[in-house]
Amino acid sequence: MISNINVSHRTEPLDRSRPPEPGRASRAGFPPFAQLQLRNGVPLFIVENHGQAYVSLQLVLRSGSRSDGQLPGLATFTSELLLSGAGDRTMQQIADDVDYLGAVLDAGAGRDEITVRLGVLTRFLPQALAIMADAVLRPTFPSDELDRERRQSIAALKQNQSDPSYLAAVEFRRQLYRGTPYGTEIEGTEESLKKIRRQDCVQFHQQHFTAGNAFFVAAGDVNPEALLAMLNEHFGEWEGAAIEEAPFAEPEATATPRVVIVHRPGSVQSALRVGALGISRNHPDYVPLAIVNTLLGGYFNSRINHNLREVNGFTYGARSSVDAPLHIGTVSVTTSVRAEVTASALREIFKELREIATYPVTEEELTMVKNYVVGSQALQIETPGQVASFVKAIALYGLPANYFDSFPDQVRLLDVEILLQVAARWFQPDRMVVIVAGDATAIQEELKELGPVTVVDEQGILSVEMPT
């Protein structure tokens, strides 16, 4: 009888066909951040987190390659030279002092912003900040360093051009943004880099590195008052007004589909980009478009990756993306496929685009994507640096301070009709341009079914002789 007691304690065999029930739901709210300002009015956003004895500090300027004017690459070139001599420090001294502190200090440009980034162990912050301040406020642009940087940049450009995905991306932007400030690459061209003079960098720095054009984002092991005092010491006297920006020349939308092949002889894969003009970060369609993009090609089990990789085995991976900058952005599908299936892969991509732009998504897909987007927010705010990048977006694009707090609720409100409307608006197949970086000889004939085919070389220059 006693042994029966033991038997009665045995539970039913575990049902292994289903996962265990989830625990009580946790809600990871977006972490709080503070907004202070330096005595000259420069905003300072702070994400305080004392988990590690490490500080990330970004200085962001509201200028970027869109401010390059007649010299594509100028914003990038000027930013990179900040560390090539500043105050009474030479390039070697800057490199040596930064490395000695175990710090990371770099500067670079995007289309809409220039960012100077410092990452440093808390105990070395004061020394590192002094170097950063010299670089930002007192760069010397030594002529010999400028020539060296020019040679480096041109060589780096040539190196990029040997990568098929890079070639496709550049040609894509060239086709869509021709004649606008987004039509050139942030790193410039060989031609433009050869033209940049020291005076251009000095002027660009004077014009764009102003207090009125700047904000700071700090994250990590900082005491807000102490950091503010340190920043006031180094940047408190910085002057200069906000920049009056010239109106952005809007690109013209594509009327009919067209195909551009960037000829890369012998390429065993074709790097593809299919896309069209889209929206800015502030556009009311942004959230629904981002969501419909996620299920079209934004995560592993998206329609496009499933089709091209898991069903057809054309590729290692395929995705779609929404690029939404300060001004008009793009939507695109990106993949690399073996050369023989270039046309087949494009047919499948267009099939998926027609599908998403014509028919509502299923409720099942909608639930999946909502849960994904809402749930994954907790994963994206694990480190102070990650949180800082969201705060930077709030400041740069002028989003409401509670934007990421309310984001889950905005997502939950979406329904299949809204998603169909935005998909029909932005993923229309007949607005798409097709860029292929690959061997034109093997593929151009078959691609004519998609629209008129142009073949260009790696600089985007029209081939006089079509390869046959």
Partner: protein
């Protein structure tokens, strides 16, 4: 200046199930997420030399269906709750992970247990992933500028041994592999006694132990793990090779055999790699890139593996610079290190950089889990994660000169030139 700080210790509990599954629990409540990581102690070095690439192809199979989870459903489950999941294969191990909101710990464990217990892969899905892997190889190696540099260096340094090929392997070998090899591989290596399960994040330890016992406890242990490891013979002369391909500039790689993980010289070699070519103030950046303007970029690092290791230097020539001139300059830097050694100042900088990198890593559950896994699987000593900084700090400038002399010898180096088509 370098010795003034200590890192907060990484705390963890370690135990094993009766079937041999090692478990490490690392609690951190900073964010309500949990990272679930499984390392199987099998990689490309365990492959027969006529079946290279199989461990990695098999990694893809682990997403193609098990008893209760169909093809691609692993992703569906994890994505449906806002998690992320992926896997990777190296020479020494294959890892699988998911990061999920804390309440879905049970789901992540169920998914990992189901595919540890059994796989259910059809011929069609096997062929599909074979195509995917072929495209992966093209995208990452064959169609990438300098894409064959790493694989060729492995062949030169470790040819004839189990480290002589990379995880991506030879596509002809994979074409020849029948479906049944998938089940055989699973039975041989994907058993609890060849795996480590690591949880890092926000969870209740009692509940975690209960869920782990429920999901993994009755998976039968496999047999003793058979390994055929062919060690590489020492290099007794300098090996040289040239590849001509569609690349923009010539490049020079110089490789040396170094040491396995856990060797007393491991940290000295890591610091040496940093001093020689690990950042803007490194010797290669200052001398070769900046002062002499011979290279577009130049770097070096030590890459220890479970049973062997390599020290690599790579430089891409500036426009108009010949490959011989560049190689000569690289050897000059090596020779300086071997005769004079680095300065204390350089060592201090390298230590500060190492500390900063460790501190940054502590911010992410995934990176802490990876560190624990590595110390557990290769050395059965997860507590080593808390001694790493001290190991680095015990290195002296004399150690650095000694390891430079010992390991970076021109007489046992592999030199690879990568030339653009039509170069002369």
């Amino acid at each position: 200046m370098t010795q003034s700080s200590t890192l907060p210790p990484i705390t963890f509990d370690r135990y094993h199930l009766p079937n041999g599954l090692e478990v490490i629990l690392h609690q951190r409540a900073a964010t309500p997420i949990v990272h679930v990581l499984v390392w199987y102690h099998v990689g490309s070095k365990d492959e027969p030399s006529d079946r290279t690439g199989f461990a990695h192809l098999f990694e893809h199979m682990m997403f193609q269906g098990s008893k209760n989870v169909g093809k691609t459903e692993h992703f569906t489950w994890v994505q449906g709750i806002g998690g992320v999941t992926n896997a990777s294969t190296s020479q020494d191990r294959t890892n699988y992970f998911q990061t999920v909101p804390r309440e879905y710990l049970g789901l992540a464990l169920w998914l990992e247990a189901d595919r540890m217990r059994s796989l259910n892969v059809s011929e069609e899905n096997f062929q599909n992933q074979l195509s995917v892997v072929k495209e992966e190889r093209k995208q990452r190696y064959d169609n990438q500028p300098y894409g064959l540099r790493y694989l060729t260096m492995l062949e030169m340094l470790f040819g004839g041994s189990s480290y002589g090929w990379g995880p991506i392997g030879d596509m002809a070998h994979l074409d020849a592999a029948p479906l049944q090899t998938v089940q055989e591989f699973h039975q041989q290596y994907y058993v609890p006694n060849n795996a480590v399960l690591i949880l890092a994040g926000d969870f209740d330890p009692e509940e975690a132990r209960r869920l782990i016992a429920e999901q993994f406890g009755d998976i039968p242990a496999g047999g003793a793990i058979q390994r055929q490891f062919n060690p590489a013979l020492p290099l007794t002369q300098q090996l040289r090779h040239t590849i001509t391909d569609q690349v923009p500039f010539p490049s020079v790689s110089i490789g040396f055999r170094s040491v396995p993980i856990g060797h007393p010289d491991q940290q000295a070699l890591a610091l040496l790699g940093n001093i020689l070519g690990g950042g803007a103030s490194s010797r290669l950046s200052q001398s070769i890139v900046h002062d002499q303007q011979l290279a577009l970029q130049a770097y070096s690092f030590n890459l220890p593996q479970e049973r062997d290791g390599m020290f690599l230097m790579q430089a891409t020539a500036m426009h108009g610079v010949g490959v011989e001139r560049l190689e000569e300059a690289l050897w000059e830097e090596i020779e300086k290190l071997r005769t004079e050694g680095p300065t204390q100042h350089e060592l201090d900088a390298a230590l500060n950089k190492t500390e900063a990198a460790l501190v940054r890593g502590l911010g992410s559950a995934q990176s802490v889990a990876d560190m624990l896994a590595q110390c557990q699987v290769f050395q059965q000593d997860p507590a080593r994660v808390n001694r790493l900084l001290d190991e680095y700090r015990s290195v002296t400038v004399d150690d650095l000169r000694r390891v430079a002399q010992h390991y970076l010898s021109p007489n046992s180096a592999a030199v690879l030139h990568y030339l653009p088509n039509g170069w002369n």
